[in-house]
């Protein structure tokens, strides 16, 4: 039973990680930009989700609508990606170092924006996971909300994979990433595509943030703390690969849960050690491809 508990915790953990990482991967996979703002967007989604739901409750909205309200809030919050992309656009033609740095500039700015808007106190929604009650299987129970988040992550994973790997739009997106000029000369509106992808990636981050707010707290350390963990997932799975994000999140989630119960001392370091281990064996990550 203990292991079932642990396994479920690991899955939930992985689901949350996946949601954030997927946005990062999408943007990297398509635009070859390592989006350091992924953590900031996640935090933004979390704060925004908390505020929107508080407002919704204050208007007398029923608590059962928690999930849909948060998803809508996350989608709305993702619109900030529009702004970021407008600025980022100015460096599309330049080396990847500059694009990385531009997102670093946004990380700096976001820290203060979050503090200016929401203050220093962490935000959390009290007792909301219990809105959906517990699922009981035999002797062991777990919050239904967490299960819903896991389901959302799975859904997103499937949709993304389908979009990128199976639809013409996905192919156009990939071609644009590789050679913007040529894609353009073949009729692809690359401005729109870049914007679309960046917004989509941002929304994945903000929706992820909004979805987990009932189980976590929005706080100022969120952006910086999360990005490192996200990178671990990305590096293990392979940059730019949605499948990689999926597997990487699973590995990190499981690893964390396991090391917590068997060698708690090594919890943080074990993740990085696995990162290094994977990179030594499979330099581009489990599903990564060498940059063209």
């Amino acid at each position: 039973m203990a292991t079932v508990d642990l396994l479920f915790a690991a899955l939930f953990n992985a689901a949350v990680l996946f949601l954030v990482t997927a946005g990062l991967q999408l943007i990297f996979g398509v635009q070859r930009i390592v989006n350091l703002t992924a953590g900031s967007l996640y935090a933004f989604g979390a704060y925004f989700g908390a505020s929107v739901f508080e407002w919704f409750s204050a208007q007398g909205g029923p608590a059962v609508l928690l999930l849909p309200v948060l998803i809508v809030a996350g989608l709305l919050a993702g619109q900030v990606g529009f702004l970021v992309e407008r600025v980022l656009r100015t460096v599309y033609g330049r080396e990847e170092a500059f694009q990385l740095l531009m997102t670093f500039a946004f990380v700096l700015m976001f820290q203060d924006v979050l503090r200016y808007v929401w203050g220093a106190q962490p935000r959390l929604l009290a007792d909301l996971p219990s809105v959906y009650g517990m699922i009981a299987i035999g002797a062991f129970t777990f919050p239904a909300y967490n299960a819903a988040v896991i389901a959302c992550a799975l859904l997103v994973a499937g949709l993304l994979w389908w979009l990128i790997d199976r639809t013409p739009l996905g192919h156009i997106i990939r071609a644009t990433a590789e050679n913007r000029q040529m894609a353009e000369a073949l009729g692809a509106n690359t401005r729109r595509i870049n914007m679309l992808v960046f917004m989509l990636g941002s929304m994945l981050g903000t929706v992820g943030g909004a979805l987990v707010i009932p189980t976590t707290a929005a706080s100022l350390e969120m952006p910086i703390a999360l990005i490192v963990e996200t990178f671990a997932v990305v590096v293990i799975g392979g940059l730019g690969s949605i499948r990689g994000a999926f597997l990487g999140a699973l590995i990190v989630g499981l690893l964390r849960a396991l090391s917590l119960s068997y060698f708690p001392e090594m919890e943080v370091m074990s993740i990085y050690l696995v990162v290094v281990f994977v990179l030594v064996l499979r330099p581009y990550g489990l599903f990564g491809k060498a940059a063209a």
Partner: protein, 315 residues
């Protein structure tokens, strides 16, 4: 020739600083020089070698901790010894992880260095018996050339003997770097940045060239870190956090990537900018971020690029 004049100008400016600027700004110059030294190294790797490391704060921290452990825990006060050990320790660590990281040149290199940087960061946290955990270790005042300077206050020590000492170290390190980047090695490093495959077919062992640059950059960072630790009076784990590495890159870009004077110009402007912003607004991070964004967009070659651009236009 132009370089020599610029260098003479900067050097005389730095030499005049203690008597012209107040105490406060003089104390600020020590971290500026410390960063300049470290970034001379990172610039070799990133600017000339095209390898963007997101973990070099680690090597500065190695320098800082070497100085702290030696001075405070082992009672070795000689700063020369501390610097030497710092360089050796950092060089050794770089030599080890370089073997792994340098198999890749692009973004994967960045990710790997980031991972190693964070491993080191959590190492500093975990092994608190050795490293003092999250509070770090305080750094005792070192002796310089065997002289102890215990009779003067810490500030007087910093703006006095230590200042001149550090300036001397900077002078030496700068001169060495100036030669390195103009040597056949510097040429090969840049060649590998521009086209790795072609360079290999020109008989250059690309991996080895990059490896040497990586180790050198770590050594430079360690020297900078050790100096910084003395001016702070402590080595703390935050110095190795990834955002610090981000700041280091920020400074190089600010100054001018791949240009010999980039580091000094960058750290000077960065420190003064941050100082002015922090004194004036609590939202200085936003302002720094905005400044960085503006520089990236409008001055891709950094402040140096702006300056030389002005000169060129005049002519």
């Amino acid at each position: 020739m132009k370089n020599a004049i610029a260098f003479a100008l900067i050097l005389s400016g730095l030499a005049a600083a203690p008597s012209v600027l107040g105490m406060y700004y003089t104390t600020l110059i020590i971290p500026i020089i410390a960063y300049s030294i470290a970034l001379l190294g990172l610039n070799l790797l990133f600017g000339y070698g095209g390898l963007l490391s997101f973990g070099h704060a680690m090597f500065m921290a190695v320098g800082a901790y070497a100085s702290a452990v030696l001075g405070t825990k082992l009672g070795v006060r000689s700063f020369e010894v501390q610097l030497l050990v710092a360089m050796l320790a950092s060089g050794t660590i770089a030599a080890l992880i370089g073997l792994l990281c340098l198999r890749y040149a692009t973004i994967f290199f960045s990710m790997l260095t980031l991972a190693f940087g964070m491993i080191f960061h959590s190492f500093l946290f975990k092994f608190y018996d050795l490293t003092g955990g999250e509070s770090g270790i305080s750094v005792a005042r070192p002796s310089l050339f065997g002289m102890n300077f215990t009779s003067i206050s810490k500030t007087a020590f910093l703006v006095g003997p230590f200042y001149w000492y550090v300036l001397g170290v900077f002078l030496a390190m700068f001169a060495i770097m100036a030669v390195i980047v103009s040597s056949p090695f510097g040429l090969a490093l840049k060649a590998a940045r521009d086209n790795e495959r072609k360079t290999a077919f020109l008989g250059v062992g690309v991996f080895r060239v990059r490896y040497v640059a990586f180790v050198l950059s770590a050594v430079y960072c360690a020297v900078g870190g050790a100096i910084l630790a003395v001016s702070i009076g402590a080595a703390d784990p935050e110095q190795s956090f990834w955002t610090q590495s981000g700041n280091m890159i920020f400074i190089i870009i600010l100054g001018g990537l791949g240009q010999l004077f980039g580091p000094i110009v960058g750290s000077l402007s960065f420190t003064l900018l941050q100082d002015a912003l922090m004194a004036n607004t609590q939202y200085w991070r936003f302002a720094m971020g905005a400044a960085l964004a503006l520089i990236i967009i409008f001055a891709p070659r950094g402040i140096l690029g702006l300056i030389t651009g002005l000169f060129e236009r005049k002519r």
